[in-house]
């Protein structure tokens, strides 16, 4: 049973995937006037919308890869496109592509992901994470939890840099987000078909993310 160990490894913020350039949208949220105290609510919104889509995509990518069918790359392309249709902001899609590329470079050096690399296209991060999870032997629930955990930690780590506060508060917020994370895991872990990919949207998140590109003062890409 290596999955629990590899699950921790993949969730570690020290994993060199370039994720430190991302704020999970919390930088544009602060710039739009969101107070620091609203961060837990902000996490709830993400876990019920964009992060659910991200986790669901990763779960389906994991299943597609693990099933090992001959058309699995074509199926992953369709899934990648389905994710893109659910992400209207081109800025957020670009950010996910950047992360997907660096994550794939890393994961392909550790596991055999040749078909994904040889497809020579941009993969969104969720597809790459899902395939990596399959290669590492993670379950669907572990995959979804990995995505959700990563999102929570990305937001909290960025918030800490942007609006310095007692880091213990951030950890307490991460603990408080746990039931919401588990509800997300329950919603997406059993998904079987890309046709079931949910599409819950968060209108302000998309708008803030889009406008962030034009922001003059920013630490994070998105």
């Amino acid at each position: 049973m290596t999955a629990p160990y590899l699950s921790l490894l993949l969730a570690d913020g020290r994993l060199p995937t370039g994720a430190h350039t991302q704020s999970g949208g919390v930088e544009p949220a602060f710039q739009a006037g969101m107070p620091l105290a609203a961060v837990p609510d902000y996490l709830t919104v993400r876990l019920r919308t964009v992060t659910e889509v991200e986790a669901a995509t990763a779960v389906l990518a994991r299943r597609t890869w693990a099933d090992g069918g001959p058309d699995r790359v074509a199926a992953l392309v369709a899934l990648d496109v389905a994710w893109r249709a659910r992400t209207p902001s081109d800025v957020l899609r670009d950010a996910a592509d950047l992360l997907g590329r660096s994550h794939l470079r890393l994961a392909a050096a550790v596991w055999d992901l040749a078909p994904l690399v040889e497809a020579r296209r941009l993969w969104c991060r969720a597809v790459v994470v899902g395939v990596t999870a399959a290669a590492a032997g993670l379950s669907a629930a572990e995959t979804a939890r990995l995505v959700a955990f990563d999102d929570v930690q990305t937001v909290l780590a960025a918030a800490l840099k942007l609006a310095p506060f007692d880091p213990a508060h951030g950890v307490a917020w991460a603990v408080r987000a746990q039931p919401e994370v588990e509800r997300l895991v329950e919603r997406v872990a059993d998904l079987l078909s890309p046709a079931d990919l949910p599409a819950p949207t968060a209108p302000l998140l998309e708008q803030w993310g889009q406008q962030h590109r034009d922001s003059e003062r920013r630490l994070f890409r998105a």
Partner: protein, 248 residues
Amino acid sequence: MLLPSAPVARAAPTVVQVRRERGRLRTVLRGGLLRPQRLHGPPDRCRVGLLASTALLLGGDVVELEVDVGPGVTLDLVDVAGTVAYDGRGEPAGWRVEVRVADGGRLRWAGEPFVVADGADVSRALLLDVADGGRALLRETLVLGRTGQLGGRLRSATTARRGGRPVLVEDTVLDPATHRRLPGMLGDLRVLDSLLAVGEELPDAPAGPTGHRPSRFALVEPGCWLGRALLPDLASSPLHRWWAAATA
């Protein structure tokens, strides 16, 4: 969720079909809860107005509309008035629209505001299928609550495809009892004013009367755009100007 206490009476769908036969525009209009009516317009296109045939939208009502734009036809669809979804007293209401635009077809639909009053529980669904050589420009204005209200429950699902490929898939759940008012969803805003352009160029967004600048999203398919303003009220919307610029 509350279930309807009695089977929901459902009218036949409203149908608007336009095609060109031997150089002439031929329209098939069939009334349901909405009544389509041919309007005067320039000879190169078809203008159809949509009128409510009864007090809409009450609990239990399900409005269904099918729009079919044939090859080489331009259809301007006009809502004659906005729609208010009233307090359904526990009964949900539905609003389903299916649109097909063929190669060389063009649809412009300047939707009027759809207001979700307190106590309403509405599911909206839009399915838009545009052929590779077709074009569509739609405005959708969702208003949560009448003046002074918080607004009821709205679920708005949009699926837009071009040549069968997904362009935009959105399922917006706006429930004041859950996370609608949290940061990142809508906060205290009440209006989502959107332009969806498939195969149509959407020019840069103009600023609204109060300086609000909406977002312009380049969707995954080239030549497809989503323009959206999120607002405290409809009066500050820049989308009248944007629509005018997009259709100039």
